[in-house]
């Protein structure tokens, strides 16, 4: 209990840390306003799935018809034609369709669907073509502290806080106390069930740190995505791509001679097949493996968020046909059960990502005995060997 309280305090403190950067933003602007129709629900969900430049907790319309937002504005850092430009996202007044233009250092900046655009010289407003693409503005390289970055920072600090405490506990005695008792079996689980059997007894120690970090990072962020804070960090392609590329780099760098031999010049097949196999293996190692890693995580989490939000939106969309109480009840029941499934998915995706990373690393560092008709099957077998 104590640890839970402390962690909560820590979270609150961490959130409050961002407060001095801005006051609570309460601007009146058009962000779609109240959600009532199917179209708005769709737009809201699409908006949620994207990264956002402010940390909005909730919005409401007050009695006088003003739209109030409750949340924290985050700093925008963009690389423009004039170099780095920094300002607070509150300057966009929650506008997301390019109608609010922010002028900085002689540049006109607009935010369209969570992306910052720089207007061309001389243009005063963004003009769109038929497909709603901006015609006179260019997308900028955006290093902003977005909501996802805040999520990564928060979860990173939380992980550091929890696990360095656990590490300190071991200095005093052999058995951890309190929250450490929950964390220790998880660490052991990743080490004994994921790293050790997949990579092999000799080499696993080198990679356990990375696998543990990735596992807890993904899992906690997945869980954070299910809280009302509304993070969607593991549903950001950039984040999952970053994780997948880490795995790619690790298994490419640590691959041994046998691994490269099996990729570039497969032993035990006729010579004219070898170049074809090399191409297939190269594509597999450098494109398919990381792509499947990044897309799986991204798609699972995005799909979960979409379905969960759609079920919550039953409240609005079925209000007429079922009545307020009926629609709300149905929505609660359905989203409750989906939330349970999503809790499982949150763990499962972290597990699968870590597991497959370990498997790929294990394939790259495995020491083959030279009888060359085993290929993947033997790897998979010695992986399974220790699973009971």
């Amino acid at each position: 209990m104590k640890i839970v309280k402390q962690s909560f305090k820590f979270l609150v403190l961490a959130v409050l840390m961002f407060l001095p950067t801005s006051i609570f933003a309460n601007d009146t602007a058009q962000d779609g306003g109240q959600i009532s129709g199917k179209k708005q629900v769709e737009e809201y969900i699409v908006h949620h799935l994207k990264d956002s430049h402010d940390f909005n907790l909730f919005s409401y319309t007050n009695d006088s018809g003003e739209r109030k937002h409750f949340g924290v504005a985050l700093p925008v850092i963009v690389w423009t034609s004039q170099g780095l430009v920094t300002f607070m996202s509150s300057e966009f007044h929650h506008n997301d369709d390019g109608h609010v233009i922010v002028e900085k250092e002689g540049l006109k900046l607009a935010k369209i669907h969570s992306k910052i655009y720089e207007l061309e010289k001389g243009a005063t407003s963004v003009s769109f073509d038929a497909g709603h693409h901006a015609t006179n503005a260019a997308k900028l390289l955006d290093f902003s502290i977005t909501k996802s970055v805040v999520g990564v920072l928060l979860i990173g600090l939380l992980m550091l806080f929890w696990f360095s405490r656990l590490a300190k506990q071991y200095k005093k005695k052999q058995i951890p106390t309190g929250f450490g008792r929950i964390l220790e079996p998880l660490v052991l689980y990743v080490r004994d069930e994921i790293a050790r059997p997949n990579i092999g007894e000799k080499q696993y120690r080198k990679f356990t740190g990375y696998l543990l970090t990735v596992f807890f990072f993904i899992w906690i962020l997945n869980l954070a995505g299910l809280t009302p804070l509304g993070f969607n960090v593991t549903g950001q392609l950039a984040v999952t791509a970053c994780l997948a590329i880490f795995t790619l780099v690790i298994y490419t760098v640590s691959g041994n001679k046998d691994y490269w031999m099996h990729i570039l010049w497969m032993p035990g097949v006729p010579i004219f097949v070898k170049p074809i196999l090399a191409v297939i293996e190269l594509v597999g190692a450098f494109i398919i493996k990381p792509f499947s890693l990044l897309v799986r995580l991204f798609a699972n989490i995005s799909a979960g968020h979409i379905v969960l939000m759609s079920l919550i939106a039953i409240m609005f969309t079925l209000k007429e046909s079922l009545g307020v109480a009926g629609a709300t009840g149905l929505s609660f029941v359905l989203s409750f059960f989906l939330l349970l499934i999503e809790l499982l998915v949150a763990f499962l995706q972290a597990y699968i990502f870590t597991m497959l990373s370990a498997l790929f690393i294990g394939m790259a560092v495995a020491e083959h005995d030279h009888d060359h008709d085993h290929e993947i099957s033997s790897d998979v077998e010695d992986v399974r060997g220790d699973f009971i």
């Binding site: 994207k50 990264d51 963009v78 690389w79 992306k115 390289l141 955006d142 290093f143 902003s144 502290i145 977005t146 996802s148 970055v149 990564v152 920072l153 990173g156 992980m159 550091l160 696990f163 360095s164 656990l166 590490a167 300190k168 071991y170 200095k171 052999q174 220790e184 660490v187 052991l188 080490r191 120690r205 356990t208 740190g209 990375y210 543990l212 970090t213 990072f217 950001q236 392609l237 950039a238 984040v239 791509a241 970053c242 994780l243 590329i245 880490f246």
Partner: protein, 166 residues
Amino acid sequence: METLLNDFSPGLFVVSTILMLVLIALMVKFAWKPILESLNEREEGIQGALDAAEKAKIEMTNLQADNERLLQEARLERETMLKEARELKSNMIAEAESQAQEQANKMIVQAQEAIASEKKAAMAELKSHVAGLSLDIAEKVVRNELSNKDKQLQLVESMLAEATLN
């Protein structure tokens, strides 16, 4: 694919890569290394304790076997000793018996010899005595004969009666 690429934010990619690198480095340095090291230490400690217990158990059984063996040996030794003693006893008895028998035989032989010699001596003495006696008798008979015939006969008879007694 188009929306996918459109959603991909290179800026976020760069930022999250940097953050992840820092996070991995910090976690490895401040959390995983000490945690895994102490977990390993603990496991080795437990393994060591288990091994020691196993060893102690084996030693214990060895000791027990030793004891058993010693006991067995002692029992055997006792048995043999008892057997030897019994043999010794019976030997001694037999020997004593044979010795006694021998001794007895010897003594009997000696006694027989003594008796025989005594007998011989006695016979010799008797012979001489009988001879003397008969001489005496003869003398007296002769003398009586010479005086009274009846008396002489009487004398001879009584003398003879006396003589046969001896």
